[in-house]
């Protein structure tokens, strides 16, 4: 190989390396900042938006990111509000993240989770709508069996909006 070519390769490699370092650092920082962002019921609305704008793959990707945020905030003893929000989102979206002693874990895993997985696998179909109907009734029985004006908690409402969007689009 000519010395000139070798020199060019080295320069290109150096330039690529210089470019890659900030990209990696930005990506790492972005992910960690995102994970450490406090969460609320609105975080669930972001999932519905992701589905409406970009479809199921983007929804599943946004859900994975939200799961990381919930996991971080569940252990965030410095912010009790975010911790409470994380607990509520975990009950309705990620029961596997709840501590083994949390008494809602088993119910949520056995009742909400399987129906959500089914809806995600066949969005926008009659089957998804039937599963959503079942999910909706289970949530009402769980939170407000009389279906009175008290309604549902904001987390239950947001979760149903997300899966309603997936079922009916």
């Amino acid at each position: 190989m000519k010395p000139k070519t070798l020199k060019e390769i080295k320069v290109v490699a150096l330039l690529l390396g210089l470019l890659l370092v900030p990209v990696l650092i930005t990506s790492y920082v972005r992910e960690n900042v995102s994970v450490q962002t406090p969460i609320s019921a609105d975080s669930l609305d972001e999932l519905a938006q992701a589905y409406r704008k970009s479809g199921i793959d983007q929804f599943l990707s946004a859900k994975r990111v939200l799961k990381k945020r919930v996991s971080f905030n569940l252990r965030n003893d410095d912010d009790s509000k975010a911790q409470m929000a994380a607990m509520n989102i975990a009950v309705y979206m990620f029961p596997e993240l709840l501590h083994e002693t949390h008494l809602e874990k088993q119910y949520a895993e056995e009742n909400f989770k399987p129906l959500q997985v089914k809806i995600e696998s066949t969005p926008g179909t009659r089957e998804a709508q039937d599963n959503f109907e079942e999910l909706r009734n289970l949530v009402w029985t769980y939170e407000n069996p009389k279906q009175n004006e008290q309604g549902l908690s904001e987390y239950a409402n947001e979760m149903l909006k997300v899966y309603g969007a997936l079922s009916w689009k």
Binding site: L103, Q106, Y107, E133, R136, L138, P145, K146, Q147, Q150
Partner: protein, 290 residues
């Protein structure tokens, strides 16, 4: 001769084996006592305020003797079949609708009838019973003579056997829904290895019936956080501990704060505590005898 004895012994031993198997099977699956004589009163309502109220209802013809009798008989049938304390079932319906089987119909309310059934309760009875009991058809038939599902909420046909506004059906459906709440809580307690009294769990199931399973589990989580697993087991085992937990305003508020916004919290907490007081005064024995 020996062969003759062997032939004679074989069927006897087989029968003995079957008997033992059934005995073990029955004892391991039927954890609910059939009729509580300790925690729940045999006569009801217990407190004079409810006795007075039922007398007033009779005097003002708010309930007919026929309907009252039908509710009583249906409560006995459903209670015995499902192992529900009769005083609890009767008092729950008294609290929900003042024994008016058409309650809420004229007003077009979302929850109606003796046990104040909503859409989700109808859905559970019509679609989810196998999640709770292994043979729903047989169970319902043993109370009502046949499986009456799908349970109907048609207000134009309130006298058919599958209508929730037909008293025997309403009582049976209410009992089944309450039974589901008991099973749901028992499974969670079993899974966590929490000891509990089946009788005390009925009182918790009545709260779950009225306020939802999430409210009860939030309260259990809070009890465990404050008093440890032993404290939670105690609240599931003794009447005194059940009442001291479910009537503790601070504990209830802290538990429900994790679910409801501040705007709704106060109302929800006070409703829950009133419900516990009513169950205590209507259905529970005055003396602690567990």
């Amino acid at each position: 001769m020996k062969r003759k004895y062997t032939l004679l012994l074989l069927p006897i031993l087989s029968l003995l084996g079957c008997g033992l198997y059934l005995c073990f099977r029955f004892s391991s699956t039927s954890r609910k006592p059939h009729f509580s004589k300790n925690l729940f009163s045999a006569t009801y309502p217990v407190h004079h305020r409810f006795i007075e109220e039922t007398s007033q209802m009779r005097a003002h013809h708010k309930i007919s003797p026929e309907n009252e009798n039908l509710i009583q008989v249906s409560t006995l049938n459903a209670g015995e079949t499902l192992g529900i304390p009769q005083s609890l079932l009767w008092c729950l319906m008294f609290q929900e609708s003042r024994l008016n089987h058409l309650s809420g119909l004229k007003e077009g309310k979302l929850s109606t009838g003796l046990g104040q059934f909503s859409v989700s309760a109808f859905f559970e009875l019509n679609h989810h019973l196998p999640r709770y009991i292994s043979a729903p058809q047989t169970t319902i038939a043993s109370i009502l003579g046949s499986d009456i599902r799908p349970l109907s909420s048609d207000i134009n046909d309130t006298s058919s056997l599958n209508s929730y506004y037909f008293i025997p059906t309403a009582v049976t459906a209410t009992a089944l829904y309450l039974n589901n709440r008991w099973i749901q809580l028992a499974r969670i307690a079993d899974d966590r290895g929490l000891s509990y009294s089946p009788e005390v769990l009925w009182a918790w199931a009545a709260l779950s019936y009225n306020k939802g399973g999430r409210t009860v589990l939030a309260l259990w989580n809070q009890i465990e956080a404050k008093r440890g697993p032993a404290g939670l087991s105690s609240a599931l085992t003794t009447k005194a501990s059940f009442l001291s937990s479910a009537l503790n305003h601070n504990l209830v508020n802290q538990a429900l704060r994790s679910i409801w916004s501040n705007r709704l919290l106060a109302g929800y907490s006070s409703e829950l505590i009133t419900h516990v007081e009513n169950i205590r005064d209507c259905a529970l024995n005055k003396e602690e005898s567990l």
